[in-house]
Symmetry: C2
Subunit: 184 residues, 2 copies
DNA sequence: TAGGCCATGTAACCGGTTACATGATTAG
DNA sequence: CTAATCATGTAACCGGTTACATGGCCTA
């Protein structure tokens, strides 16, 4: 999923500016499963315009900089539908926390506990922001996606809270055996 | 989390070759929360060697190409611990499926149903491979991580199976209203 | 008056992927 | 006989980020 398609997706549900797309995509409700920054969104929008997939009109504002409102064209809609027709790329998940958890035996207990605390806080924040953001998007599918997110994050959070003891128990147990391993 | 640190993490739990690291990291048990390819792992290993964080020795094999077995040094272990001490980067999750789900109203019902089928299959595969791979890693934390993965993926899978009807119901409902939106 | 928000845009940089080169062995 | 597995490595390329430039308005 490249930034162009992402822009089309957002614009497909209503007109928007580059600034707003970035906000939605990297702070708002979309931010939980996609991401993009100014440096890729503005060029993408420009290129989409060149290809006739979007149009734009400049809007004056009082006391604020002009904004360039983009709308998707029929061609753009077709392009977007096309992109969705081909099998979606698999989900992509990266987690430093899980890497640390995997290596727990080699890390001091305090450090592991700290990492767990931070992860819990992070997951709780994430869930809270889903609740807050879902109202800002006028798409029917948003509620379904929000529920899905709450479910997954919630079950992960519950697992960590209930089983953190097990991880903390094994923390540091590999430190003594390290010399043996190194000598091999 | 860059590839170098990732290599240190793997090597911290035992000696390994570039080939094996890639397998573990992009097909094996690590692959569910990190990723890297040959083109980044081999240069990373080389650079780690230059910095004295790992050592390597070449091993002859009969009927197979030589393998270069890397071991982490004490310096490397310290470096790795250091990397883990600073707060972990937040989890990073990307999902084309959720983007599609979010836009469900603008997509034909069949297409949505198809995407859901594929997502279910993907999640089931993912869970099955966790079960298969966890035995291949000799780290105590692996079981905890595997359980975490099963929990999260399982709850997501369950949600999709139970609520797919709701999503399919709203699929395509936005297609008629599109003209109105475009005219605005 | 300092910092944050609104708002658009560019250029340098970088981490990583893709594809290629090489080649023996083994399984189907 | 073909394809896959083992195994290491390089080079071109690319998508995207980071940081910068610009500047008015509003809030603390």
């Amino acid at each position: 999923m490249n930034v162009k398609t992402l822009c089309l997706a957002v614009l497909n549900s209503g007109n928007s500016t580059g600034y707003e797309i970035r906000k939605l995509v990297s702070e708002g409700h979309f931010s939980h499963f996609v991401d993009a920054s100014f440096g890729s969104i503005y060029p993408a929008l420009k290129s989409l315009g060149d290809d006739g997939l979007v149009t734009s009109r400049e809007e004056q504002q009082i006391g604020k900089p002009n904004r360039k409102v983009y709308s998707i064209t029929e061609l753009g809609q077709r392009e977007f539908l096309d992109a969705l027709t081909k099998p979606a790329q698999k989900d992509n998940f990266k987690s430093e926390f899980l890497l640390l958890a995997m290596c727990a035996e080699l890390i001091e207990r305090d450090l592991v506990a700290q990492a767990i605390d931070r992860q819990i806080e992070y997951l709780e924040d994430e869930i809270a922001s889903i609740d807050a953001e879902v109202r800002e998007v006028n798409m029917v599918g948003a509620d379904w996606v929000a529920d899905y997110g709450r479910t997954c994050l919630g079950s992960g959070l519950k697992y960590i809270k209930e089983n953190r003891g097990d991880l903390e128990k094994i923390a540091g147990t590999g430190l003594a055996g390290r010399q043996v391993l190194a000598a091999e």
